[in-house]
């Protein structure tokens, strides 16, 4: 590969990693703080994508998209809050299968609902940042670059929230030692709801951001979920840095793997090989905390 090509596929991998990171960060956060595997995480991603597309198409490209994104994230966060209050609160501390099933049931309901409300067809929306950049003989879509920048900013934002605010400190305490949290006088119930809303919002943000670059349908929830799982596992459940590194790994593996003739068949499989290896050798992931 020439340097120009290396860069080409690297940016491709990065833009893949960008939206995956945003989604996985939410999943990872929820698991780290709440110890809940949220099978409905992809559902939030999907709802936000649809809402964004619908609003953007109604109002018109630029303003419509950003407005749509804001509305979508708000809606998703709100639905996340509802789910947490109505469903999750009843299943905390129970066997994880019960939690899995509860959130899985939510994902079923959402999938059916989305199909009813939005119809079963694919939807597309125009890119709000058209144009491209030429570098080294190759073209890069501006929107792909935007996705990368957005992911970095969002990642920084989440990091800042975690390490510079009281809320973040409480979240990190919950991740580190949930039992201790009760003793510190923090309103745990409200904290859990907040974290879940943030997680849902992040999933929604990922869905909104990715909407202009692919066809949106009612099956995008399951595909993103399994990749988000893989990334969270590889990076470490509960770690933002881990999600970023995991997303990078997955994004790059897919980007380079698909183009190389020898690995092209198995690029996606390779992601799961890594996931398996991590779970065997170091279950907490690259940056996760050891299980108490």
């Amino acid at each position: 590969m020439t340097p120009g090509q290396l860069l080409l596929f690297a940016v491709g991998g990065l833009s893949n990693a960008a939206y995956l990171f945003i989604v996985a960060a939410g999943l990872s956060l929820v698991f780290g703080a709440l110890r809940v595997i949220n099978m409905a995480h992809g559902s939030f991603y999907m709802i936000a994508a649809f809402v964004t597309v619908v609003i953007a198409n109604q109002i018109g490209a630029q303003l419509g998209f950003w407005g749509g994104l804001l509305v979508a994230v708000a809606v998703t966060g709100a639905i996340g809050g509802l789910v947490e209050v109505l469903v999750l609160r009843r299943v905390y501390g129970r066997e994880h299968l019960v939690q899995l099933l509860g959130t899985y049931a939510v994902s079923l309901v959402v999938a059916g609902g989305v199909r009813i409300v939005f119809g079963a067809n694919y939807r597309t929306v125009a890119s709000p940042i058209p144009g491209h950049v030429d570098l080294g003989g190759y073209s890069y879509a501006n929107y792909s670059l935007f996705m990368i920048v957005a992911a970095i900013l969002i990642g920084a934002g989440v990091w800042a929230m975690l390490y510079r605010t009281n809320l973040g400190r409480n979240i990190r305490a919950a991740v580190a030692d949930p039992d201790l949290l009760n003793a510190t006088g923090v309103n745990v119930t409200r904290l859990y709801t907040t974290v879940f809303v943030i997680g849902a919002g992040l999933a929604g943000l990922g869905g909104s951001i990715v909407a202009p670059s692919q066809a949106i349908s009612s099956s995008i929830d399951t595909d993103v979920l399994v990749l988000a799982f893989a990334i969270s596992v590889i990076g470490g459940l509960g770690s933002i840095i881990g999600s970023a590194v995991g997303a990078l790994i997955v994004g790059m593996v897919v980007s380079y793997g698909l183009v190389n003739p020898r690995t092209n068949q198995f690029a996606i499989a390779f992601v799961f090989i890594i996931m398996t290896a991590v779970l065997i050798v170091r279950p907490r992931g690259l940056f996760g905390l050891p299980e108490n």
């Binding site: 059916g112 499989a269 279950p283």
Partner: protein, 604 residues
């Protein structure tokens, strides 16, 4: 079970009847649906071996179903061999794949195990999906049935026969001592290990067996659907057996089978007309089950039962008490205990010294919880370990029975080095342990708790045949009566009051302690009277049945009335050892306890 066979045999004639009554209908379709339900039932029941019986949540089960399907399809279509040969091969291929991937999946536990099975499932899916030349990739493999099997009724009976045989085999398995071991694992992994069950081995075994039957189900699927496709291995495909098991109930053997029939009926009637609503309905049902059932999924049938009972009985209480009265310990029966065949003691081969702890240490990060502890327990001794809170007594016990590994030092038991061995191995050497926090099998009955302990201890749990609940029933009943729980032997142990649960805990340790019984604060929470009764029983057993005893205690009256040797620990180290009298008069010991007393008084 029998009812199921009768029902299965009746479906085609019933379908024919339905067609006669309803000319627009086709009996072929009803029969086809029946075939679908049968195969789904087999798949779900096999899944429940792991889910309901062993407490394992796997995302890879659909992959073995798919492997079975592809085995049949490939053998028939690609290798042009008889389709029945393919069906015969399917379970073994699936079991082989299950075994190998199960070995991998086993490296993690609980949640990480589930995630690992997800990764494995996706890997297998990718392999099948990508190997276009071999498996047809996204096309899947379509087959044309040989003529003998194209008749729907023939196919139905054939499927019913195979499903029936498989269900029967699995039924035998779950009722066998091996099945009892699986239930123990589900109920309490720690206790299962402590009664001598190699948890990982049994989990691997059930995982492989489940994969085997999933392979049969997958093979049967290809026979009636004439198609194998890669989506069968996708991780979300596992939703079907899970939901089906949930619908029918995971606590009974045939629950998932019933769920399968319900599901097929629902699917066919609702989802045709209202496809999007079907998902919502299904989701709502699952949510309902999950939220409405406080004790977990296995409680579903009992929730219905309880509701039904409440309806029927109203306010009236019946003869069977719903909860125990907490009287067990008071009703400890020494004579019964002495006569109990559940309690077996062995003569030890080594000379006098049964347990030797040599310079054992254990650190947690910077904290030395156990620091260079050495002591000896002679055969027939009643040895107490005392010391203030945090002295390291429980940690020491955990080091002895394998829940923790020592950082350094050795533990020699009956001449064998058991240092760092896993709990199930140590349990088999003849050490029985009562844990400080009651560790029993909550949903199993009192009798089953004792029976399964005996079965495991005496090595019966490797047998996949026989009826576990009938083995050692009398011995278990006797032991239950000996510890005052005779009347409540059939009650789920988790419903007993705390004190009564302690009685079970003690009973289990006695049943297992053929050479040595470890009691971790046995009388904690007991009244004076109960303490006397409990320790009287233990003492008499020790004296007359040559039971060796090692216990740690806070209650000094117990120590002085029961122990012949006392070791005092303080801050992880052995302070001193000797007879109770010597210890009582030892000024250092007094200081240690006084110091603790002072600290308590000062509120520090």
């Amino acid at each position: 079970m029998l009812a199921l066979f009768v029902f299965a045999a009746l479906v085609p004639p019933l379908a024919g009847l339905y067609e006669n009554l309803n000319p627009d209908a086709s009996s072929r379709f009803q029969i086809f649906l029946g075939t679908t339900a049968l195969v789904l039932a087999l798949w779900a029941v096999s899944y429940n071996l792991m889910l309901g019986y062993t407490g394992m949540v796997s995302f890879a089960h659909a992959a073995y179903y798919g492997v079975g399907a592809y085995t049949v399809a490939l053998i028939f279509k690609r290798y042009h061999l008889p389709i029945l040969l393919g069906l015969a091969a399917a379970p073994f291929v699936a079991a082989a794949v299950g075994f190998v991937t199960g070995l991998v999946a086993q490296r993690a536990v609980r949640l990480y195990f589930s995630l690992l099975t997800l990764a494995i499932s996706q890997l297998l899916f990718s392999l099948v999906y990508s190997s276009y030349d071999f498996t047809g990739g996204d096309n899947g493999i379509a087959i044309t049935l040989p003529d003998q099997l194209t008749d729907y009724t023939t196919l139905y009976y054939f499927t019913a026969a195979i499903v029936g045989i498989c269900l029967l085999l699995m039924f035998i398995l779950v009722r066998s001592p091996l099945g009892a071991a699986l239930l123990s694992i589900r109920e309490n992994r720690q206790r299962a290990a402590a009664i001598g069950i190699n948890v990982r081995l049994y989990e691997l075994a059930v995982y492989t067996v489940a994969a085997l039957f999933a392979g049969v189900a997958g093979g049967l699927f290809v026979m009636y659907q004439q198609q194998a496709y890669p989506e069968m291995l996708y991780w979300t495909a596992n939703a079907q057996p899970v939901v089906v098991s949930l619908l029918g109930g995971t606590t009974t053997f045939l629950g998932p089978a019933i769920g399968a029939f319900i599901y097929v009926l629902l699917d066919n009637s609702i989802s045709k007309q209202f496809p999007y609503q079907f998902d919502i309905v299904l989701g709502a049902i699952v949510l309902g089950v999950v939220l409405a059932v406080p004790g977990g999924i296995s409680d579903v049938p009992s929730v219905f039962l309880r509701l039904r009972e409440r309806f029927r009985r109203g306010e009236q209480d019946e003869a069977q008490p719903a909860e125990s009265a907490g009287e067990a310990i008071r009703m400890f029966d020494v004579r019964k205990a002495l006569a109990s065949e559940a309690i077996q003691t062995e003569e030890v081969h080594s000379d006098q010294t049964l347990l030797r702890i040599e310079h054992v240490s254990r650190s947690f990060g910077g904290l030395r919880a156990v620091d260079d502890v050495s002591l000896e327990v002679k055969q027939g001794d009643r040895h107490a370990i005392i010391g203030p809170n945090g002295a390291g007594k429980s940690t020491l016990f955990n080091l002895l029975t394998g829940q923790l590994k020592p950082s350094s030092g050795k533990v020699i038991f009956d001449g064998r080095d058991i240092t760092g061995k896993p709990p199930h191995v140590i349990a088999r050497t003849g050490i029985g342990r009562a844990f400080q926090i009651t560790t029993i099998f909550p949903k199993l009955s009192v009798r089953q708790n004792l029976q399964y302990a005996i079965l495991a201890h005496r090595g019966y749990t490797v047998r996949p045949f026989g009826i576990a609940n009938r083995m050692f029933s009398a011995e278990a009943q006797d032991l239950a009566e000996a510890v005052g729980l005779g009347t409540w032997a059939d009650l789920p142990a988790g419903q007993l009051s705390h004190g009564d649960q302690r009685a079970i805990e003690i009973a289990i340790s006695l049943a297992l302690g053929s050479k040595l019984v470890l009691l971790d604060e046995p009388t904690a929470g007991m009244s004076a009277y109960e303490t006397d009764k409990a320790m009287e029983l233990v003492r008499r057993l020790a004296t007359e049945r040559h039971l060796t005893l090692l216990f740690c205690e806070h209650d000094m009256s117990v120590v002085f009335s029961t122990a012949r040797t006392v070791t005092v620990m303080h801050q992880g180290r052995v302070l001193t050892a000797g007879t109770p009298e010597q210890i009582r008069r030892n000024p250092d010991v007094q200081k240690v306890y006084l110091g603790e007393l002072e600290q308590e008084e000062l509120g520090a």
